[in-house]
């Protein structure tokens, strides 16, 4: 029995030296990429038609969680705004000054204009301050749970203050 085993192990050992591949006993090394594995997971997942477990409907919301999705939400909204601006420049007739005159002709109340400026500045400021927070995390700093909440509150305060400041300008 031992002799049989020694012969087999010896063959493995020899194969390990002759072939450059990793030799795992009785296993096949597979060089799949992460993308292929993900694809395989999703195919198996969707074809088995399993019901989705409740997740965001039942999980208790935390400040970092809410701020994270708001970062994504503001990012998408700002992207949409920039794209709208760029596409309008290509597609709409007239120039920017003409469009501004159109808005001026509406004679909107100053309070409304002030509110609109605040509404524009708020998502931008939130995304900027929270973005800085993200970059600090990328440096590996401030990742402890209490620090997450502290930095989150700082971002919120800064957002409100800077948006108010910008709207007043």
């Amino acid at each position: 029995m031992a002799a049989l085993f020694l012969r087999h192990a010896g063959r493995q050992y020899l194969r390990a030296h002759l072939s450059p591949q990793l030799v795992i006993r009785n296993a096949v090394p597979m060089g799949t990429t992460a993308k292929e594995e993900m694809e395989r997971f999703w195919n198996k997942n969707t074809s088995s038609n399993r019901p989705l477990s409740p997740h965001i409907t039942i999980y208790s919301w935390s400040l970092p969680m809410a701020m994270s999705i708001c970062h994504r939400g503001t990012g998408m909204a700002l992207s949409a705004g920039v794209s709208l601006f760029g596409l309008s420049a290509l597609l709409l007739p007239g120039n920017f000054e003409g469009h501004l005159d159109l808005v001026k002709a509406l004679c909107l109340a100053p309070a409304l204009i002030h509110t609109a400026k605040f509404g524009l500045a708020f998502p931008l400021m939130y995304h900027i301050w929270n973005g800085i927070r993200h970059l600090i995390w990328d440096l590996g700093k401030g990742l402890k749970i209490p620090q997450l909440y502290q930095s989150g509150v700082v971002v919120l305060v800064l957002t409100v203050l800077s948006s108010a400041g910008l709207a007043a300008m």
């Binding site: 031992a2 085993f5 020694l6 192990a9 010896g10 050992y13 390990a16 030296h17 990793l22 030799v23 795992i24 006993r25 009785n26 296993a27 096949v28 090394p29 597979m30 060089g31 799949t32 990429t33 594995e37 694809e39 999703w42 969707t46 994504r72 990012g75 998408m76 700002l78 992207s79 920039v82 794209s83 601006f85 760029g86 596409l87 309008s88 420049a89 290509l90 120039n95 920017f96 000054e97 501004l100 808005v103 001026k104 204009i113 400026k117 900027i128 973005g131 800085i132 970059l135 990328d138 300008m169």
Partner: protein, 159 residues
């Protein structure tokens, strides 16, 4: 376990050189690789193991992409006060480029997170690319034929 005992006997007999270098690989439970199913304790059989040592996946594309994203973010962060303090044509075009690239990569991450399946993801990414390209073209057109981004923001804010 018996497998390992016999192997150690063999390697001791052979002066125990290269086999022990491979020892971590032969002990399946300790392999830090992606395993499809968790092996049961005392298990000793066939297992498909995906390993990605550097010689299999040399692509640093994802890592470089990540770094690129951070670099563009920092660039954009710097451009904003610069645009306020020193509005000019160079800043207009730099803003157009960094803004569209930052949003393109950001939207790409959203697609990667929520859109599954190779075909739909490819289509979504193509759509994003078209949108980003058109946005960049639009912003450059605005910078060239109209007042430019910095002046436009100033004019808007004077309303």
């Amino acid at each position: 376990m018996a497998v390992l005992l016999r192997l150690s006997v063999l390697s001791r007999a052979q002066g125990g050189r290269a086999l022990f270098l491979r020892a971590p690989v032969v002990r399946p439970a300790l392999v830090s690789a992606f395993l499809q199913d968790q092996p049961m304790p005392g298990w000793c059989g066939m297992q498909h193991i995906h390993l990605s040592p550097s010689r299999y996946s040399d692509s640093k594309a994802a890592s470089l992409h990540w770094t690129g994203e951070r670099v563009v973010s920092v660039l954009l962060l710097g451009l904003i006060p610069a645009a306020y303090l020193n509005p000019c044509s160079a800043i207009d075009y730099s803003l157009a480029a960094t803004l569209t690239l930052h949003s393109h990569w950001g939207l790409g991450q959203v697609v990667t997170d929520y859109v599954h399946g190779a075909a739909t993801q490819k289509a979504a990414k193509a759509g994003i690319l078209a949108l980003s390209a058109l946005t960049f073209a639009g912003l450059c057109y605005f910078n060239y034929h109209d007042v430019g981004i910095c002046k436009a923001v100033a004019m808007l804010w004077k309303l």
